[in-house]
Structures are given as structure tokens and as C-alpha cells.
């Protein structure tokens, strides 16, 4: 069974290539796949095959396949009709049809998914295949995707069946959790009961009935006739719509006697049968006629398989077979008519039977089976159905009679629209000559005709060989209660069923004759058109709702949105604090008096910022708070933090100044005055909340913190004395990996915003400059080569000299920080930032060409190399079988240096170092060099 699924998947993958090479004939080799699979099904008929492969045991979702009697019947339909439809496709389409390869792939994949659906024993697996057919049906119905009609129909089918599918999923989960197993075979054998199960059954039925297009979820099926005819013949006659029938048939042995089952299945089934049957008598499009006929027939079959007795199940499966044969055949006939004459409108067809007698014969044979005429399979099935309902021993007496009456009335309609199909499509209808469409028609080819002919003859053969069909279907029927005595046969003798059949045929014929008179009596509104409009109204309503919600929540004002977030931040924790349990509050004034002194400066700077309009002054003030924090870190016992904070603060200051030189000195705060007071209130509220909640939070800490164990872990396992650094590169290296990725993205973002296009490239060097830019004489000895391009008045020789002397020192310091970081303050971040500051110095002293002189490498390459080092360490440790990002210590003896202890986390830290350097270089290149360039200066 697994091989069949895999074969279909492979065939689907190969289909586009196959169609490209062979054109439309490529469908023929593809048809071999379902045909060969059908051979397997026939070879294993009557046996039960199981495949169990573990997949996601935690969710009870495993590849459990089970091939039993019911699955065999379904496979016969799915694979048999599937193979024939593919053959039909080989002549229906022309080779130059757009997207034909993809279409073929979808058809084959659909056959595979249907096979999986009917053989899946695990209910979650069933759901997966179920939705796979839904998605494929969406794609197939929307094959003519350039058309709005086609897209709308596809979307409608998708939405309706997916909504049902989701309901079904909930039902599956309830059923699986209550019964303790997700295997269909277990669940049906156990057949648990209870109100929860009743809900599950209703949800499952919603899924099944929406898939099988039962009223009131039927409207997608006529709409889906926008699909190419082979799709209609396969999905909407033989396969997909039968998935719902299959599910009902599958569940019936276990759940047919739950309270909600019969009311749902019987009432909706009969309603579909009658309403759609009536509608089929009104439409003029042959395909629509068949579509409504299908809804009607599906209602009939659902009633039969849902009754839950042996006889009805036998009748239901027989009708299912018969329906696949005659409806598939009829759809193909309509496809041929459409192809040959260019129309499907019965008002435009006359004398078609004379011009295409073979086609008329096929259609008549199939339609006779649909009407239930002896000796076709439709007759056998209908006899069995009438017998089962008339002598029912499962339903109550009243329900059985009501159902019987409904079925008889529905059958009358079926007979009428069967006659209408054949007569109105093929007859001369009293006209003297063929209609223009028919006169222009071309004769259909033999291969195209052979497929519907085969299906129609199949209905005849199966009818004659009713006893043989009986032997195929009995095993499943025996799983249901009720008298087990009924057998399918062509002739049961004269009795109530036969009398009813004759009555149905006569009344149906009369109905057709009187159709014009009857339809004139009633208003021209169809009974079922409203479901489609209800669907539209529901969609429009949801559009309106989402529009209103968007308008309400997304006002477009950033301050308003932020205020909403901040108000929530202030209010929600306060409420929790007010109503929740609180610990007592113990306070200490400070850790050291230094905190008070620095804190006062910080707060004063922050307050000054709120009234400062000058950008540069604001930046300096924010720098004061930053350096202040650095001091707090330093006295707190966090040298790494203090170091990093000082370096970052300096760099940030430079970056700010680089950008601010291009912006006006004062900020534009128009409109800010109006909302000063509410802003201040909110600001104080948030600040107070943070302080108060922080006070309570710190008092609530009672357990020993995890950090007590960290120094030992860092030293013993991470081989480093600097706990913070070991945390960054080893213990919590995942965080750092994420962080450096963010830095990389930020660097790329900065460059993209400034350069807009062609963001990659090296920083220009002195050699790249045009000679006329050169200010200083070339032969003179110079301290910084880039400085030669700075106008003499702006050049600062002292700075250049200092830079020339300081740069190597800073780089050595940077390397020291990097290497020492594992055991002393420093590390990749501090080292990288120091190197970055050295670059900043070179740039500030030597101008735009000096940066390229200092580091003639593309920033992107440095960033990329850094990420390779960091991520590479992670991957290598994984490849070596260790957990991701775990570090090891290598001890090597080198000739001169002696024993060296190398922690692999150093490579990770090297990545961090490179990314920080790359970030600084990219920022300088963008916000520094590029902003200096004439391009940015000219149109400022």
C-alpha cells in the first residue's frame, strides 16, 4: 500500500516532464500508475492488509494504513475511474493547453491522496489526506486561473470543504481522546457512547456532508463546474465527493445508533435529493444539470449508507458503484459535446443524436442506469434501496416510511432529469434541421468515446452480473446489523420494490412531459440559489467585520499605538499587583553612596533631555546617562559590562554625530505641545509602575538563584574564569548567536537604507580616488594617506599623527581583549568594539579614503565570515555528536610556545568579534563615507 502511495507521488512529480515530452499523450503512461495499483487491489480483494509505520507517536499520528472490504470498494472507484479519466484527458485536452503538466501532476496526486484517504486507519492521517484532496481540488477547479469565475469557484469549494474539514478534525480529536485510540478500526470496534461522542459524531458528519455536497453545504459543487470536464467527472462524480460517503459508511457500523446520527443524515440526505433533483430539471446547462443530479444522488447514497442496516448498506454501496459508472460516463459525454459543438446549452442543441449516434447511445445507456432501468446496475441498486427501506428493521416505523416516501419522490425527479438530459441534448425536439452549433460540430475521436462507453457498458455488465457484484459488496454490508438475508439480483420477482420502481418510472416520465406546465406555475426563483448568496453575504460580512476591526485598532498614529501599549504596561501589572498576593517590602537605601551620586547625574540628564530641542545636546545628554550606567556597572562588580558600555556609548555617540550633521540642529516637534500633559502623566505612571513592581518583584525572590552554580560550571565545564564571557560564548551561546544575527541584519539594513541600490562593495581606498581630488603634493611623506584628500584648511596634522601612533596600540589592545576575555574582562564584544573604535579614529582623522586604507575588505565579507565562524562552531559540535554549541578544550603542544590550551568557544567568540567589526565598518561606510560622498551631498 505504501508502494502505491509512493508510486503516485513519484508519478505526480514526473508528470510535468512527461507532458512536456509526450504532449497530451503523456497522460497515457500516467494512467498506468492507478491502473497497476488497481491490479494490486483486485489481487488482494477480500483480504485485510495493514501497514503500520511510526511517524509522530507523541500525537498518536502514525502511518497506519488498513485495506479492508470497504476500502477495497472505494479503491475500485478511485483507481479504476482515475485511470480511465487520465486516458480521457489524453484526448480531451490539446497539447498546447496552458499548465497541462501541472494539471496532470495534480490529477495523479489526487488519485494517490484519495487512495490514502480510503485506506488510512489512523484518523489524523485520514484528515491529512482529506485536506490534501481539498487542496488539490482547489487547484484543479481553478485550472483556468485567468478567469475570475474559475477562481471564485475554486475558493468557494476550498472554503466550504475546509470549514467542514476543520469541524471534522475537532470531532476526530474528541473521538480519539475519549476512546483512547486514533485508529478507526479500534474506535469503531469500541464504539464509545456519551454526550461528548454525540458532539464528535455531529462534527464528523459536518465534515463528511460538506465534502459530499449535501444541503446546506451543497452549493460549491455546481459552482465547481467551472473546472475542466475530466475534473468534474473524477472529483465531482467518482472520487472526492464520495469521500464523505465513505466516511459515513465507515462510521455507520459503530455510530449509526447515536442520537444525532439519523436525524442529521436522513433529513439532510432526503432534502438534498429533492431540492437538487428539482433544480436539475430547471437548468439549461448540461454540466449543471449533472452537477445538481450529483448532489441529488449523493443525498440518496448518504441516506442509504447512513441508515445503518445490512440491506441499506448493500444498496448504498451498489448505488455508489453505479453512480460512479453512470455519472462519470455522463460527465465525459458532456465534455465531448462541449468539445465538438462548442456549447453545453440544451437550447442550442438539436438533432445531435443524428450526428453523433454513438455518443447518444452511450449517454442513453448511462442515463438509463441513472433512472434505474432494468437491467442496469442503477436498477439493481434502486431495487435494493427500496427493499431495504420498505422492510427496514433499524429505523423506527415512521422514520422508515418517511424516508421511503422521500426516496421515491427523489427517484421520480431523477427519472425526469435523466429523460431531460438525453432528450434535450440529443433529440430533434421538433426542429426541422440541426441547430447551427450541431451543424458546425466535428466528430469525436474513438479513444475519447471509448472511455465513457466503457463506463456505461460497465454499468450494464454489472447489472447483469448482479450476483457477482453482490459477492463483492456483501462483506462490508455484513458488518452492519439487521437481517442479513438480502442479496443483489437482477430479478427479485414481483413485489413492493418493483411496483414502486414502475411507479417511479411512469411518474418521472409524466413529470418530464408536464415540466413546462409545472414550472410556469411557480415563481422563477430557484429554491437553492440562496445558499450561494448566503455564502457571499457571509464573506462580505466577514470583510466588513475585519474592516471595522482594522479601522478601530489601526488608527495609523504611531504615538497612539505606543500609548496603547504603554498604558497596558502601566495598568495590567498594577491590577495584578493590587489583587494578587504580595510579599512584604524590605528596602535598603543603596549598595554604595556612589550610586546616589551617579544616579542623580543620570536622572538630571534624562530630565534635561525632555526639554532639549537641540539634537546634538540631546545626544550628549543621553551619552551622560549611558556613561553613568557604565559607572554603576563598574561599582556593582560588573567590569565586562562597564567596559562594553563605555565602548558602545562612544561608538553610538560617533554614529549619532555622523547622521546628525545631515539633519537640522533642532528637532521638529510641531504638535508635541498639545499633548504634553497626558504624555507626562503616562510617562510618570509607567515609571512609577516599573519602580513599584520592581520593588515587589525583588522582594518576592526567595529561592537561591541559579547563578550561584554558574561560576563553578564556567570554570569546570567551560574552562574559563570570566563567568560572563563563558555565559555568552558557551552556556547561553544560543542567545549570542541570535544576537550577532541581529547585528548582521542591522548592519545590512543600515547599508541598504543609505545606499538604496548596490549596497555591496569595498570602501574606496586612496588609489580609487580621482587625482583632481588630491590636495597635498603626492611625493611628500604623509602620516595618513587618506588625509591627502582633505582640504588643507580642514586637515589636522596633530590628529593624524596621534592616530598613526595610536591605531596599532588600539588593535593590539583589541586582540588582547579578545584572547584574554575567557579569563579576564574582555571577550569578542569588547575586542570587536575596540577595533571598531580604532577604525572610527582612522576615519575621523583621515577622511573617507582613510577607512579603506585602514581595512581594505568588504564589510559584507567580514560579517559573513563572522557568521560562518559562529554558526560553524555550532554545526561542527553537532556533527561531532555533541549538543549544538557545546565547547571542548584542545590541548596542543607547539614547537616554540609550548603547551596551549584552546577552548573551542574561542572560535565562536572570533565570529562575534568579526561581526562587531563588520557592523562598525558597515555603519562607517554607510553613515560616514557614503554621506560624505558628492552623491548624497548634492541633493540634500
Amino acid at each position: 500500500m505504501l508502494a502505491i502511495l509512493i508510486a503516485h507521488a513519484l508519478a505526480a512529480l514526473a508528470a510535468p516532464a512527461c507532458i512536456r515530452v509526450l504532449g497530451r499523450n503523456g497522460f497515457l503512461p500516467l494512467a498506468l500508475v492507478p491502473a497497476a495499483s488497481l491490479g494490486w487491489v483486485i489481487a488482494h480483494w477480500g483480504r485485510t492488509e495493514e501497514v503500520q509505520i511510526e511517524w509522530v507517536p507523541g500525537l498518536s499520528m502514525n502511518l497506519d494504513l488498513r485495506f479492508d472490504d470497504l476500502a477495497a470498494i472505494m479503491c475500485l472507484l478511485v483507481l479504476g475511474v482515475g485511470a480511465l479519466v487520465l486516458v480521457y484527458c489524453a484526448r480531451y485536452f490539446t497539447s498546447d493547453e496552458p499548465r497541462l503538466g501541472v494539471f496532470a501532476a495534480q490529477m495523479v496526486a489526487f488519485a494517490g491522496a484519495m487512495f490514502g484517504l480510503v485506506t488510512a486507519d489512523n484518523m489524523l492521517l485520514l484528515y491529512i489526506f482529506w485536506e490534501a484532496t481539498t487542496v488539490l481540488s482547489f487547484l484543479l477547479v481553478g485550472h483556468n486561473s485567468e478567469r475570475a469565475t474559475s477562481r471564485r469557484a475554486a475558493l468557494q469549494a476550498l472554503l466550504v470543504t475546509t470549514a467542514g474539514g476543520l469541524a471534522m478534525l475537532v470531532g476526530i480529536i474528541i473521538l480519539g481522546e475519549v476512546s483512547g485510540s486514533y485508529l478507526l478500526s479500534d474506535v469503531i470496534a469500541a464504539a464509545p457512547r456519551g454526550w461528548l461522542i454525540d458532539i464528535a459524531v455531529v462534527l464528523l458528519l459536518i465534515g463528511a456532508l460538506s465534502k459530499s455536497a449535501i444541503v446546506p453545504m451543497h452549493f460549491w459543487l455546481p459552482g465547481a463546474m467551472a473546472a475542466p470536464t475530466p475534473v468534474s467527472a473524477y472529483l465531482h462524480a467518482a472520487a472526492m465527493v464520495k469521500a464523505g460517503v465513505y466516511l459515513v459508511a465507515r462510521l455507520a457500523p459503530g455510530f449509526a445508533d447515536t442520537p444525532p446520527w439519523h436525524p442529521t443524515v436522513l433529513v439532510l440526505g432526503i432534502a438534498s435529493m429533492l431540492l437538487a433533483g428539482w433544480r436539475a430539471l430547471q437548468v439549461y446547462d448540461l454540466k449543471l444539470l449533472l452537477a445538481f443530479g450529483t448532489v441529488s444522488q449523493l443525498g440518496f447514497i448518504i441516506v442509504l449508507v447512513g441508515t445503518g442496516s445490512h440491506d441499506a448498506a448493500l444498496a448504498g454501496t451498489t448505488m455508489m458503484l453505479a453512480h460512479a459508472l453512470f455519472k462519470g460516463s455522463l460527465f465525459m459525454v458532456v465534455g465531448i459535446i462541449d468539445h465538438a459543438t462548442g456549447t453545453r446549452d440544451i437550447r442550442k442543441l438539436a438533432h445531435l443524436g443524428n450526428r453523433a449516434p454513438m455518443l447518444a447511445a452511450i449517454a442513453t445507456l448511462a442515463a438509463l442506469s441513472m433512472a434505474g432501468f432494468i437491467p442496469l446496475l442503477g436498477f439493481v441498486g434502486k431495487e435494493a434501496a427500496l427493499e431495504a427501506l420498505a422492510y427496514d428493521d433499524v429505523l423506527g416505523r415512521g422514520a422508515a416510511i418517511a424516508t421511503l416516501v422521500g426516496v421515491v419522490l427523489g427517484s421520480v425527479l431523477t427519472v425526469a432529469y435523466s429523460i431531460r438530459f438525453v432528450w434535450d441534448a440529443f433529440a430533434s425536439k421538433g426542429r426541422a434541421e440541426a441547430s447551427p452549433a450541431v451543424q458546425r460540430m466535428h466528430a469525436p475521436g474513438p479513444l475519447l468515446l471509448s472511455v465513457p462507453a466503457l463506463l456505461a457498458l460497465g454499468g450494464l455488465a454489472a447489472g447483469i452480473a448482479a450476483q457477482w457484484v453482490d459477492s463483492l459488496l456483501q462483506p462490508y454490508a455484513h458488518t452492519l446489523p439487521g437481517s442479513q438475508s438480502y442479496h443483489l439480483a437482477l430479478w427479485h420477482g414481483v413485489g413492493l420494490p418493483l411496483a414502486l420502481t414502475v411507479l417511479v418510472l411512469i411518474t418521472g416520465a409524466l413529470l418530464y412531459l408536464g415540466l413546462d406546465a409545472i414550472t410556469r406555475l411557480r415563481p422563477q426563483h430557484a429554491l437553492l440559489g440562496n445558499a450561494d448568496r448566503a455564502y457571499d453575504a457571509a464573506l462580505a460580512g466577514m470583510d466588513r467585520l475585519s474592516g471595522a476591526l482594522t479601522r478601530f485598532t489601526q488608527r495609523g498614529s504611531l504615538p497612539l499605538t505606543q500609548a496603547t501599549i504603554l498604558i497596558t504596561l502601566a495598568v495590567v501589572p498594577s491590577i495584578v499587583l493590587a489583587v494578587g498576593t504580595r510579599t512584604g517590602v524590605e528596602l535598603r537605601l543603596w549598595d554604595s553612596p556612589m550610586q546616589l551620586a551617579v544616579g542623580a547625574i543620570i536622572v538630571a540628564a534624562a530630565l534635561a533631555m525632555t526639554v532639549m530641542r537641540n539634537r546634538l545636546a540631546s545626544v550628549l545628554l543621553v551619552g551622560v546617562t549611558g556613561y553613568g550606567c557604565g559607572v554603576v556597572f563598574a561599582v556593582h562588580g560588573a567590569p565586562d559590562l562597564a567596559l562594553t558600555q563605555f565602548l558602545v556609548e562612544t561608538l553610538t555617540l560617533v554614529v549619532f554625530v555622523l547622521v546628525l550633521r545631515k539633519l537640522p540642529a533642532e528637532v521638529d516637534d510641531r504638535g508635541a505641545d498639545r499633548i504634553k500633559l497626558p504624555r507626562a502623566v503616562l510617562a510618570v505612571a509607567v515609571g512609577a509602575m516599573v519602580t513599584i513592581v520592581g520593588t515587589f518583584a525583588v522582594n518576592a525572590r526567595s529561592a537561591a538563584p541559579i547563578s550561584l552554580a554558574l561560576p563553578e560550571a564556567a570554570y569546570e565545564l567551560g574552562n574559563g574564569k570570566n563567568v560572563v564571557n563563558v555565559l555568552l560564548v558557551d552556556i547561553r551561546a544560543w542567545d549570542t548567536l541570535g544576537e550577532v544575527s541581529v547585528l548582521l541584519v542591522a548592519a545590512t539594513g543600515v547599508a541598504s537604507l543609505v545606499f538604496r541600490h548596490r549596497r555591496f562593495g569595498r570602501v574606496p581606498r586612496a588609489a580609487d580616488a580621482r587625482t583632481e581630488e588630491l590636495v597635498a603634493p603626492e611625493e611628500e611623506v604623509t602620516w595618513l594617506r587618506g588625509g591627502d584628500f582633505i582640504p588643507t584648511r580642514q586637515r589636522m596634522l596633530v590628529l593624524e599623527v596621534v592616530t598613526r601612533l595610536l591605531f596599532p596600540t588600539m588593535m593590539v589592545l583589541s586582540v588582547y581583549f579578545f584572547f584574554a576575555g575567557h579569563n579576564a574582562p574582555g571577550g569578542g564584544f569588547a575586542g570587536g568594539l575596540t577595533a571598531g573604535l580604532a577604525l572610527v579614529l582612522r576615519y575621523l582623522a583621515g577622511g573617507r579614503y582613510e577607512l579603506g586604507e585602514a581595512l581594505p575588505v568588504e564589510a559584507g565579507h567580514i560579517l559573513g565570515a563572522g557568521l560562518i565562524f559562529s554558526a560553524g562552531t555550532a554545526i561542527v559540535s553537532m556533527l561531532l555528536g555533541a549538543p549544538v554549541l557545546s565547547s571542548a578544550t584542545l590541548e596542543v603542544t607547539l614547537p616554540l610556545l609550548g603547551d596551549i590550551k584552546l577552548v573551542t568557544a574561542l572560535f565562536f567568540d572570533l565570529g562575534v568579534y568579526l561581526i562587531v567589526v563588520g557592523l562598525v565598518l558597515d555603519v562607517l561606510r554607510s553613515l560616514g563615507v557614503r554621506l560624505d560622498s558628492p552623491q548624497e551631498a548634492s541633493n540634500a
Binding site: 430557484a526 544616579g599 559590562l641 510617562a683 519602580t691 561560576p711 564584544f829
Partner: protein, 184 residues
């Protein structure tokens, strides 16, 4: 654990000033506000982890401390500091670009949100195109007037005009009673 009053007050001050600035429309001021807020939160993380102590380096002690300051909080704050630098650079570049385009570094109301708010008919929604009815947004036959390659064609050239008609019948639920055999 006890709460450090001075530090918490400083944190409250930083957060308040940060929030005050964040609620402006100038990108520079918002960024500065965010940095202030971030500095406050960094201090908050630090003080939440406990009091001061020796440096978080095994084997090093400082005078007056017999315990190590919490290294976990320090690692978190270190990450935050560096991220803030990257973020600042990015927002500054954003502000610069905004200034180059609009000559001001202000965040005006989001035009897309304004557009949603001023939508008058369903046809204005982005999932409708020009083939839909401009007043109601309902699909019209013109939505089908495309050839197999997606190029628009006149409605008259459409091969399967019938498909649209039968769809229309299906949708409205109205069926034209035309005498059988009548040719249009």
C-alpha cells in the same frame, strides 16, 4: 532580597523620561527615548539580580565583598547593550532616509491605515480589481475576459461565454425562462 531604593528611583526616572520622549513623532527623539528606556531596563535587570559584589571572574575579589555579583544578569545586559547599538544605527539610518525623502524625520500617520479608514465601498479593498463592480465590489463578467495566457481580451472574443452565463444563473438563482429550442 531587599530592594535598592536609589537604583529603583533612578530606573523610574529613566523610564519616565524615556516614555515621554517615545510618545513624540520625531524619529530622533523617539530613538533617544528608547535608549533612555533601555538604560533604565538594563539597570533594572541588574538590580533585580541582587546587590553588588566581586567581579564575576573566578578567583578575583574586591574589597568589602565576599560574594560575586550575579553573572547571569550581566550576560543579559551585555547582550542588550550591544543590540541597542545596532538598533540605534539602524533607526538613525531610517531617520536619515526619511529626512532625505520628506525633509523631516517625523513619523506621520500611516497612509495605509488612513486608506483603510477612508474606504468607502468594498471595491476599494485590495482583493478587488478593476474588473469588479466599482460600487459594490461584486464580480462582473469582465473578470473572465482574459485569454489563456492572462492577457485581457474584449468580452465578445471570449470563447466560453456560456460558462459565465450559467455561473450568473447559479449565483442569482434566477433562471431565464426561454422557450425550448429558441436560439439566441
Amino acid at each position: 532580597m531587599t530592594a535598592n531604593v536609589v537604583l529603583l528611583a533612578v530606573i523610574g526616572g529613566l523610564v519616565s523620561c524615556g516614555v515621554y520622549l517615545i510618545l513624540e513623532r520625531s524619529i530622533t527623539r523617539m530613538l533617544l527615548g528608547l535608549i533612555l528606556f533601555g538604560n533604565g531596563v538594563n539597570l533594572l535587570i541588574l538590580t533585580m539580580a541582587g546587590g553588588d559584589g566581586s567581579p564575576a571572574i573566578v578567583g578575583r575579589t574586591s574589597a568589602g565583598h565576599d560574594t560575586m555579583a550575579d553573572p547571569l544578569a550581566q550576560a543579559m545586559v551585555l547582550t542588550a547593550i550591544v543590540i541597542t547599538m545596532g538598533l540605534s544605527a539602524f533607526v538613525l539610518a531610517l531617520g536619515y532616509r526619511s529626512f532625505r525623502l520628506t525633509t523631516q524625520d517625523r513619523v506621520e500617520d500611516d497612509p495605509e491605515d488612513v486608506k483603510v479608514a477612508s474606504r468607502r465601498s468594498p471595491a476599494d479593498a485590495p482583493d478587488h480589481d478593476r474588473t469588479d463592480d466599482p460600487a459594490t465590489g461584486d464580480p462582473t463578467p469582465f473578470g473572465d475576459a482574459f485569454d489563456a495566457h492572462g492577457n485581457p481580451i474584449p468580452l465578445e472574443e471570449l470563447v466560453n461565454l456560456e460558462d459565465i452565463e450559467c455561473y450568473d444563473e447559479l449565483h442569482t438563482g434566477e433562471i431565464r425562462r426561454v422557450e425550448a429550442g429558441e436560439e439566441r
